[in-house]
Symmetry: C2
Subunit: 413 residues, 2 copies
Amino acid sequence: MKTGEMQSNMKTIVGGVTAAKGFTAGGVHCGIRKSRKKRDLGLIYSAVPAQAAAVYTTNLVKGAPLLVTKEHLSNGKAQACIINSGNANTCNANGVEIAEQTSALLASALGIEKEDVVVASTGVIGQPMSIEPFEKGIPALVKDLSSDGSARAAEAIMTTDTVKKEIAVSFELGGQTVTIGGIAKGSGMIHPNMATMLVFLTTDCAISAGMLQKALSTDVQSSFNMVSVDGDTSTNDMVTILANGLAGNPVIESEGEDFSLFMKALNTVTVSLCKALAADGEGATKFLECSVSGAKTPQDAKKAAKAVICSSLVKAAMFGSDANWGRVLCAIGYSGADVNVQKVDVSFLSPKGSVLVCKDGASVDFSEKKAKEVLSEKEITIAVTLHDGESSSVAWGSDLTYDYVRINGDYRT
Amino acid sequence: MKTGEMQSNMKTIVGGVTAAKGFTAGGVHCGIRKSRKKRDLGLIYSAVPAQAAAVYTTNLVKGAPLLVTKEHLSNGKAQACIINSGNANTCNANGVEIAEQTSALLASALGIEKEDVVVASTGVIGQPMSIEPFEKGIPALVKDLSSDGSARAAEAIMTTDTVKKEIAVSFELGGQTVTIGGIAKGSGMIHPNMATMLVFLTTDCAISAGMLQKALSTDVQSSFNMVSVDGDTSTNDMVTILANGLAGNPVIESEGEDFSLFMKALNTVTVSLCKALAADGEGATKFLECSVSGAKTPQDAKKAAKAVICSSLVKAAMFGSDANWGRVLCAIGYSGADVNVQKVDVSFLSPKGSVLVCKDGASVDFSEKKAKEVLSEKEITIAVTLHDGESSSVAWGSDLTYDYVRINGDYRT
């Protein structure tokens, strides 16, 4: 894809999932969570039926809402997404029933088909779940729908997240302004594999369901699949995108410049959400980015970048601002990437500068004081050059801290 | 292997790597570590040349000592093992040279061939290394050799380990008493993949080099390859076994009852060391065992057991004595094992009793109070039944604690 020549005038705007034309959203507290203050039920609604696409977790244990959503999206259409936090509705005897009832209740309240509802849940696995909070909450939720409701929906889907994650961009396509927005939740149990944490994307772009799925499936390979907080792939991961066509651009029905522009804008949205997810990793004090270049193939670059980001030892060293680059090399060595370890260079970068710590796979003289200074910052890049080819990749994660252990030592209570 | 019929009279004895006939060992402080009190150079010596076998890390980044040892063991023979802690001699420009010089110095001091020396290093990766501490230390080390020196060698190879790891067993073979002993080091960067951490095994069993390698390569699949502390596969992992034949049993040159007896005794030694390694995992407060039964194939059982033991979320829950069984199911789901998640049962066991927390992949009523009591113990078994076949497997690990983060946040300084 050559994007240099395109004139897209892409810019970041406010509004999250309600930035695109025709979308409203909302979020209320319905009682799934005991705390009164935290919203636990969110809704995204398109005024007209939308093309829809999704990718799901590869975990064999799948949340019941995913099974129901997959069925509902089989015709490539949807009009609303309802999401609860506080209970994952996974490994429950009545999970599918609850998800189906939720869809039916919402469809009836909105006057749409229940097959046009995307349903998702996040929270503790294996806890009993009842339909009552949904019965009680859905009328209020539908009433709460508004064009400034993205933040409330983003809040309703949070679990151990400490900040809301939303973004939107607009760009020109076929003479029309097209917008893509998204919200995400995710802080722990983050190690997507061919799918990802909970992410809801909306766009007013006119695009066929097939091309929408193609765009999403391609994008996650270099966005959400490159984030890891703790190496655990969730049972409830899902990314959904709704495209209602209200921007009025010529419908994208095949590859070409319009599709490339759409992909580029989509990637801006997804990478922004990836970084927000990693930075808000459970207990995280630092955001880590590992950029690998000079790899033989894109697959090798990805394997190396992801192994570094996933290494508990690298993550703990970054927490301690310790330039222990041997652990970076060690992770590359077991990553499964085809690399010549005698040619690897490693640098640490942050707003405080950069320091080369390893050249040709061996130690170089560097100032420990300078390295400590660079690594004491809150955003750190581990830059790896393999000198073995032309491919590159980037992965995102966070440091391993006392608070990660505290949060996960007693999540349920 | 049907071991029920065998009469081996196997018993655990003292003496570690010097328990078998003809072996002596020792350990001194030579100055690689700055602390004066900690021994940092260990030696194991056989009075006669021994058959030797080894398995090595699969990490592409390999410590220089491993490359030299592999070369030395190409003829299946060795007579001494020299091991330093404090510096991994990995990613150094002069690593191979140092390892070769060390072998030559030791060979000359002992009056043996330098090709009969196994050399190993453990510690920080990528630190400059000099031959001087070895020149200074080897004469004292050779003088320190004695039949009660196993504990000193075990101490010399420790890094972040908090306790020495040694064991020996004796058993009857062809009318003779045969002994197998071992020492191990390892606490962090433990996630062996087809090889393992540093382990030295000695036996006076008469066995061919080929059968010795076969026994070791088979054994590690169900012993050291099933231990994980932090998911990081070390660059310096190695298990070596020396068999000097002094027990006088009929030489084992093929499979059969004698080989099975030897394998059984070997497995007793290696599993004991595995458990010691896991229990001493960096920062660990609890020893975890995951036993999986009813799997379709041994490979499925292994994948499931290892995924549970490796999950940061399961490890943190165990630290917090939290019966969060959903994380166990989640790990099985992403393990890659071929399982029917609707048939999975999970129980937690400890000296305080057992509690069934999941039946047929869904929640069951259980007493949270009883579960807390069971999980507050220091040794916990996570018992998983897949009801899908006849295969089983066991993996070992430790909980994830504040101290793991503290230890690894600043390991080098």
